[in-house]
């Protein structure tokens, strides 16, 4: 069932609009002021947002910004409703990043069609991880390719969680999922705060992530990701295990083994200066660096500082 947040008092002016949408099984949540709309969005993000232009103080900008920053559901389609005279004046879509628009007064049949179209379009381009909602492998390959072609030196960073498998066996998969989600949020929020421009975060799957940031930001981002992870980690570990500094669980061969607490390893591959031709080469080097960084104890990141490409 698709939940639609309708922000504004003119979108459902005609009664048929509401009736036809509800008949199709859409659940409508209506907010006539921005404060309420933002609150509703935060508490329980909808699957689709329809917002009208013309709130006091351009409040619609705030709402669109909240929707675009929503991590639980990436790609929430946003439809903007505005009167014709505003269309004549033109709109800067960089300031108001929405997906579609509708003319006011809204015709009920068009409203329904536009909503269905927005849903269909979203499903066509969806390769997101179902748990973290972050972009998956297709998007990651594209993002790496774009980084290689970028005129600014970028760094591709591979993150994985140490001791995740035994943790998952020891604490159960639902807590394992929480940790996967926690790491995703730590990474996304750090990048959002310190390296928002030109960056990318993807989720390969399981406890593997990739993020790409400008090279001059890579150290700051890695340090902050590790520090933030360290700050919240203990909330996901039983106090007695924290005290002991680890837990006992069977290893891959089925032997009882003592594992340390969760930690994070990041392999950082700067891609500037035409070192790589394609993403496969980046992955090959990442495997080497990952191997080295995972051998270290605790939270670490390791940067490939070599001048050329060494696929050994």
């Amino acid at each position: 069932m698709t939940r639609i947040l309708v922000a504004g008092s003119h979108i459902l002016e005609r009664q048929e609009s509401r009736i036809s949408l509800e008949a199709k099984g859409y659940q409508l949540i209506v907010a006539t002021d921005i404060k309420t709309a933002v609150g509703l969005f935060l508490e329980d993000p909808p699957d689709l947002l329809i917002v009208e232009r013309g709130f006091a103080g351009n409040g619609e900008l705030d709402l669109v910004r909240v929707a675009n920053a929503c991590l639980q559901k990436t790609n929430i389609p946003i439809i903007l409703v505005l009167p014709r005279e505003e269309m004549v004046a033109g709109i800067d879509w960089r300031v108001l990043p929405v997906d579609d628009l509708l003319e006011r007064p809204v015709a009920p049949e068009e409203l329904l069609l536009r909503i269905q179209l927005a849903e269909a379009r979203r499903n066509r381009v969806f390769d997101n991880n179902p748990l973290s909602k972050l972009p998956g492998n297709t998007s990651i390959l594209n993002a790496i390719q774009n980084a290689l072609a970028d005129s600014e030196p970028m760094a591709v960073c591979y993150v994985d969680i140490d001791n995740f498998k035994p943790y998952n066996d020891h604490y159960g998969f639902s807590q394992g999922d929480e940790v996967i989600l926690m790491v995703a949020r730590v990474i996304v929020n750090v990048i959002d705060q310190v390296a928002r421009q030109r960056s990318f975060v993807g989720h390969v799957g399981g406890d593997d992530y990739v993020f790409i940031v400008p090279e001059f930001k890579m150290v700051e981002v890695c340090e902050k990701v590790l520090a933030n992870f360290e700050a919240v980690r203990n909330l996901f570990i039983a106090p007695e295990d924290v005290k002991k500094g680890g837990f006992v669980e069977k290893d891959r061969q089925g032997r009882e083994t003592r594992f340390g607490l969760l930690s994070i390893s990041i392999a950082v591959i700067p891609t500037g200066h035409g070192k790589f031709q394609h993403s496969g080469q980046v992955a090959a080097v990442a495997t080497q660096i990952k191997h080295k960084v995972k051998a270290l104890d605790g939270n670490n990141y390791l940067i490939d500082r070599r001048e050329g490409y060494f696929p050994d």
Partner: protein, 290 residues
């Protein structure tokens, strides 16, 4: 007190959606949100001085769809997991007092002061995560605000009863509602999916004996509440300093020297937050009703 009425109040309090906070705090945070050089941590510092916003932040991060139900017990962790945008949105959606009253500011100060004392004591006792305990101290009186907002008529009666009979707020709550603000705060905290580590100290801050798992935290908040009242920082709704629970006292096991040192540390820390609350109050017109 018949159970039916208690149940009615319970239902009314459970419906508490959006508790208001001080306009000065929201104004300050809005200014910060506009500034590109402000970090999430800096905003977190301001948020963690406000018991209503802090409770809201914890409610968000522990809500089912954020994926960490009943797990996150400190403001700094909540901010790391929610991120800058959500924190900003929280501020946009925050509701503020329509009419500011002196007592709202004073309850706010009392809550903040209690958090300061809890932090000093928890650190001193070597508690693993002192911030968790100070967070519980910060939101310990959230039930008072819920009663005020959701049950305005009863709230008036409670105040009248306090004035006329010279009894404590808690006694008056018991007579009017058949429950007290600690219990109400506990329901609120559990309805918001907060971790047990926070629910128990809120529920048991007047009687730490009731705590099952969080005896120590409950005792610390119980003592913090008493100490900050004794210091006259802020105002918790009445002038009566609650009875010190013998059990809590035995649990904390402080010597007179300990108490002296705690006093000094608390005084020092209060100076920091005093500056902040002056700043907050400076932009506000406080209307005092009798």
């Amino acid at each position: 007190m018949e159970e039916v009425r208690r149940q009615e109040f319970r239902t009314a309090l459970r419906k508490t959606k959006n508790l208001p906070t001080l306009p000065g705090i929201i104004a300050k945070l809005c200014k910060m949100a506009e500034d590109p050089d402000i970090s999430t941590e800096q905003m977190g510092k301001v948020i963690s001085q406000d018991y209503v916003l802090s409770a809201k932040l914890l409610k968000l991060v522990n809500s089912a769809f954020y994926g960490f139900p009943q797990r996150i017990s400190s403001i700094s962790s909540a901010i790391i997991l929610l991120g800058f945008n959500v924190v900003k949105s929280l501020i946009i959606s925050a509701s503020i007092f329509e009419v500011m009253e002196a007592q709202d500011v004073e309850l706010w100060q009392h809550s903040l002061g209690c958090a300061v004392v809890c932090n000093v004591i928890a650190t001193r006792l070597g508690v693993k995560d002192p911030e968790e305990v100070s967070t519980a101290g910060l939101i310990h009186d959230i039930g008072k605000m819920a009663i005020k907002m959701e049950l305005p008529d009863e709230y008036q009666m409670i105040n009248r009863l306090m004035r006329d009979r010279g009894i404590s707020m808690r006694q008056a709550e018991m007579e009017v509602l058949g429950l007290d603000h600690a219990e109400a705060g506990g329901w609120l905290a559990s309805g918001w999916n907060l971790p047990k580590k926070l629910i128990e100290p809120v529920t048991c801050h007047h009687d730490p004996r009731l705590a099952h798992e969080e005896q120590l935290a409950s005792s610390i908040i119980h003592f913090g509440d008493i100490m900050i009242r004794g210091l006259g920082y802020g105002h918790a709704g009445d002038k009566k300093v609650p009875m010190l629970s013998k059990r809590a006292w035995e649990f904390l096991n402080f010597s007179p020297t300990d108490i002296d040192e705690i006093f000094n540390q608390v005084e020092e820390k209060l100076w920091d937050v005093k500056g902040f609350s002056l700043e907050i109050n400076a932009d506000e017109i406080i209307q005092v009703r009798d």
